[in-house]
Amino acid sequence: MNLTLRVWRQKNAKTAGQFVTYQARDISSEMSFLEMLDVVNEELIKSGEEQIAFDHDCREGICGSCGLVINGTPHGPLAATTSCQLHMRFFKDGDTITIEPWRAAPFPVIKDLVVDRTAFDRIIQAGGYVSVSTGGAPDGNAVSIPKDDADKAMDAAQCIGCGACVAACKNASAMLFVSAKISHLGLLPQGKVEADHRVLNMVAQMDEEGFGNCTNTGSCEAACPKEITLDNIARMNRSYAKAIFKSKLS
């Protein structure tokens, strides 16, 4: 199939970007979306132009590197699918596809479709862990954990940190990402010990980074390739209230 691509090109963070139109010719429906971009890039390189820069690595939907806004939707039209796992059979010959980077002030564009997501790392650094050092951990079976809790924690822990939730949100809110980590750790006995500190610190860092507020629209949940759900945000809101009132009392 042949496609027309409108791709956001931007030399670096300081210069303004614009859409550039490219033709993608002889695209197989078996290709992944990124392989289609590879084909376009090969042609660009051969004509001496710089390739379209986009983040990608594992190409199997788990590393969280890739992230393209395809026709206005983060990771494209297919639910629960990262950009790398989206295949061209979901497009038709002659389609025009608009490809943009994640748009959010805390995710500044580095180049073309590549954005800086280190804000997420800083949020985790502020408290997204259990403070145990290597060595001295009790036996793995010393504390039993109800299967249901472990399963729920795992549901939340599946987050790949791609940032699609922020990209989808009209307010660029990071609450789904932050709440997934708070839920994952807060649901486990090991993580409960410092749950209050964690939620206060992570939320403070999230605000510091300039992410917007949750207006409970659910766009994040719809865009999430790992199907992280909104009830994590409710859980975080609850934990935050508990933590802030407790910290006042103590």
Binding site: R103, L200, G212, T217, L230, N237, R238, Y240
Partner: protein, 237 residues
Amino acid sequence: MAASAESMQASSRGLILRLWRSSIGKKYVMAVTGLGLFGFVIIHLAGNLQIYLGPNAINAYGKLLKSNPAVLWSARFVLLAIVALHILTAIQLTKANRKARPVKYAAGKPVASTFAQRTIVISGLIILAFIIFHLGHFTIGFVDPQLLEYEDILGRHDVYRMMVTGFSNPIISIFYIISMGLLLLHLSHGVSSLFQSLGLRSKKTFGFFDKLAKGAALVLFLGNCSIPLSILLGIIK
């Protein structure tokens, strides 16, 4: 630079201030004030529906409300404060949200959000304009000062006649009905959203709160609209 919760704890800033400074805290303010206003709207409607019981009932109710100026003014003051806080918080949140997302996408439509969700700020703003008009109409009297001067045979303010006369104007009634439509829109997202913001919603209760919000908003809409409609249709005269 990382903001440390410990350092915040160590300082003497109050709980309110800390809540006010955090995104989630502001959402609590939005939710709690929203809940207060939602409660008011329900009581307001319950009071007004007494119009169906005839002039005596609603005029007595009107007199009761005004019988103790201290209570009346405290209530008014609290309500005003809640409204002000709700609006102030909304402005701050909206500003922060715009700042967080300065560039819109060139293509496509918004992901998975409903019309009510996307228009909550607009619906809120129009409702505010409506409230000002409504107060002017039936409380302060700058629309038609005469309305506030009607008296019934017992010398009470004739609320019944005020409403009948007030809603006899089809343009005003239509404006009321449209505004109630916007309130429906606002509450259908706002009420379920407030439970989410307060962390009271879970996967299991998600659908329940959603239905509760939509149901309550609809009941309020129908109840509120029934009054001008009944008047226009001559059911109440």
